[in-house]
Amino acid sequence: MDDRHDFGNQAAGDVSSGQDASATTRIGLDVGTSKIVTAQGDSRASQAAAQLNAFIGVAHSALAEATLQQNRVPYFRDGEELVVYGSAAERFAHMFNAECRRPMARGILNSQEPAATHVLESILAMLVPQAARKGETLAFSVPAAGPEMEAELTYHEETLKHYCAGRGYTPIAVNEGLAVVLAELANESFTGIGISCGGGMCNVALSYLSIPSLTFGITKGGDFIDASVGQVVHEPSTRIKAIKEDDLDLTRPSEDKIIKALQIYYDKLIQSLVDELYRTVTRTHKLPRTDKPLPIVLAGGTSKPHGFRDRFEQMLLRRQMPFEVGDIRIAEDPLTATARGALVAALAER
């Protein structure tokens, strides 16, 4: 890949320049399988930005390259291929009725994808400006480590840390579920359960006064639903994803084949999540000793369809949890909750 040329910064308006040198940059970064989201600002107001964590390769030609440049589409040239990345990749996937590729899978860098690291760094470059002052804190989300993915997670985490350190930041890793708690449960003194339902994984953290007592994840998420439904209805998962994100309602029975399949696999995902939650909390000795009901917050793009909360609640209430379940709610903005929570951690670490 020696002849790689990156035009991402030009396309994104060169986010690393134009920063006020006196300003501070504290960033919360949600590195999700499906999307990368940043939050900047302070504890009272934050601004979020997002890019799709995906890319697509198109055959190189002078005309194609000129068109990409003209339209300020972020891409890099990799040999005879032009790799379009970020949110633009989805447009091209629709255009060519092809599948987007992902630099990450199951919450961490995709070891099956040779271009994964470079694509991820290119997308990050569009969202993370150079630190205004050296050593500024950047908090990024990481999934909970399952026993089978410890080694890969270490590689994923260290890659991100070194990239961020190279941009002038002091990076800290924040568990994804805990980030949801930090974003949404401040009024409850960061006590409760945060669940981030992302593209590759669902991450859960049980926090007591901001300390994660229990964390775990399941390697099922939005991608699992898209792929499963795509398989049974013979449609590309990119199209399924578009339908899912458009107006899926889990509360209304539908005769549409795709919607019906989406509802089935959503139920499957939620059931797996509830089962794993039940299994984990009933086997652990780490539950906080509090008699207060624990609220549960659901976040992430996969939790967005209407009725997700109700389905989750129905399935959860069938189980006898060893603690009193409090309010179950969807995050104020499910897509940015993890990044906002990471920002709270970054601000607290100054």
């Binding site: 009272r44 908090a139 800290i172 890793a173 930090l182 003194s189 960061f190 000793r289 607290a348």
Partner: protein, 494 residues
């Protein structure tokens, strides 16, 4: 260079052991008062990180109340580092509102506990040794009282713990939190039906609302800050006292004097639009601390800690203490309603009826404010300082449903403007309210009786009192930091 970076903190990544339930309960209570999530997080993390230094020792203590007090003390100590780099606004909110005062209270409690732990064994030893100790049972209590009293400031009246909440003020200005008045609110009036909580406490809250245990829901999305409350009290004999106060001592009820549409479904959008415009106006002009719309929604507009421009020229007195700056000393609560002047001999002036929802919400809000600020009921009226007349603004000059609010009838109380400052009333006022209320009649009688006892005419007594008022008013204008007054609608009673 190593590719692995072990020096970066991992505090938010992996599972950790938290704190025990006793420390956790104390930290929860302290952190409830912190609004800023970042400060809250820093505080909790700091307190829990430090727990290893003291938890094992405290855990061994056999007495749960002492353990709890010590955990609270250690928790409060973690506040200072959490606020170290916070912006001044956040520091002020946390310090001035609650936490520094709580810290003080709990340091005090800690010293009492520690003091009693040291002294009690000595006393018991002495008691058992002293040959006639049974004849002096008061000794231990006296000693304990002096231990308790030692760290307290030499204030003229000792406020109860809730009143000390806002006592943290800059040392440069001599300022105390609460006026020296009856320190405990009247007990809440029992509801006739259903169970009511013994105290009104914050039960839940969201980003733009607060829910209290008595069913009061306060919408907070319109909240703005006014200037800080800061006022002095005049003593009837000695003039202005040197002390500045910064806590409310009462509630003034107002009517909004805005457009009122019929409460019918056909007018839904107009009702909403009218309320929305009113809210924006009240917010812009910082006219009241609270507004209750016709559907009974309670909006906090100007933060309780700061003054709204609601009272204009009004006076109020309790005992020898006379209050002249009621914007600073009182909380202004307005009902979306309008005052209707008398229309002939047969009809009295009145506020247009408030809705049942407003009544319920107003009662809940009143109970909450009375408990929070230890407000006891009393009466007052608005004045025209140039003409020395009461009732310059007439909303709720008559007809406020005190009984429904569980309050004594304030119209039966002689207004201080008449008894203390010699103000009178004119025919316009009489026409507007229909007839004099019993309080006014009593006030006039008191004034006449005092003049008779002193051997002067009632008019001479009035002139004397008005001269005092003019002097105080001039002093107040010159010395206190009174904010510009927005046009006020009127003052009622409490």
């Amino acid at each position: 260079m190593s590719l692995v970076s072990p020096y970066w903190p991992e505090k938010y990544r992996g599972e950790r052991e938290g704190c025990g339930p006793e420390l956790g309960t104390q930290l929860l209570e302290i952190s409830d008062d912190i609004d800023d999530p970042v400060i809250k997080l820093k505080f909790l993390r700091g307190a829990i990180d430090r727990q290893s230094q003291y938890e094992r020792r405290i855990h061994r203590l056999p007495c749960p109340p002492i353990r709890r007090a010590l955990y609270r003390l250690h928790g409060l100590r973690a506040l200072a580092p959490a606020l170290a780099n916070a912006d001044p606004e956040s520091q002020e909110i946390v310090y001035h509102r609650m936490l520094a005062a709580r810290s003080k209270v709990h340091r005090l409690a800690g010293s009492i506990v520690c003091g009693s732990l040291v002294i009690m064994p000595l006393l018991l030893l002495g008691w058992s040794w002293w040959p006639d100790s049974s004849s002096e049972p008061a000794a231990p209590a006296t000693v304990l009282a002096s231990v308790a009293a030692a760290p307290r400031p030499a204030a003229p009246a000792l406020p109860p713990p809730t009143l000390m909440i806002a006592a943290a003020t800059p040392p440069a200005v001599q300022e105390v939190a609460y006026a020296p008045r009856s320190p405990v609110a009247e007990p809440l009036v029992p509801e006739s039906l259903g169970q009511t909580p013994t105290t009104v406490f914050l039960a839940d809250r969201g980003s733009d609302w607060e829910m209290y245990s008595n069913g009061l829901r306060v919408e907070t999305k319109f909240v703005v800050d006014g200037p800080r409350r800061r006022y002095r009290i005049a003593d009837r004999q000695q003039g202005f006292k040197p002390t500045f106060y910064n806590q409310p001592v009462g509630i003034l009820f107002h009517t909004s004097e805005s457009d009122l549409w019929p409460l019918e479904a056909n007018y839904g959008s107009r009702l909403r639009q009218s309320s929305t415009e009113l809210l924006k106006y009240v917010q812009r002009s910082k006219a009241y601390n609270y507004l209750i719309d016709r559907f009974g929604r309670v909006y906090r507009i100007v933060a309780d800690e700061t003054r709204a421009n609601h009272a204009g020229h009004s006076v109020w007195a309790q005992g020898d203490d006379v209050y002249l700056d009621l914007n600073a000393a009182f909380i202004g609560v307005s009902f979306e309603s309008r005052w209707q002047a008398s229309e002939g001999e047969s009809q009295e002036g009145r506020a247009l009826p408030i809705t049942n929802a407003q009544l319920v919400a107003g009662r809940n809000l009143t109970n909450y404010l009375r408990q929070r600020y230890a407000i006891a009921p009393d009466g007052l009226t608005s004045i025209s300082p140039r003409q020395f007349l009461i009732g310059y603004h007439r909303d709720w000059a008559t007809g406020f449903p005190f009984a429904a609010f569980g309050l004594p009838d304030q119209y039966a109380q002689p207004p201080a403007a008449v008894t203390v400052l010699g103000f009178g009333h004119d025919d316009d006022f009489l026409r507007a309210v229909g007839k004099l209320n019993p309080g006014l009649i009593t006030a006039e009688r008191m004034l006449t009786e005092e003049a008779r006892v002193r051997g002067i005419s009632p008019d001479a007594l009035r002139q004397e009192r008005r001269a005092v008022y003019q002097k105080w008013r001039a002093q107040q204008r010159g010395k206190s930091s009174v904010a510009s007054e927005a046009p006020i609608r009127q003052v009622a009673v409490k």
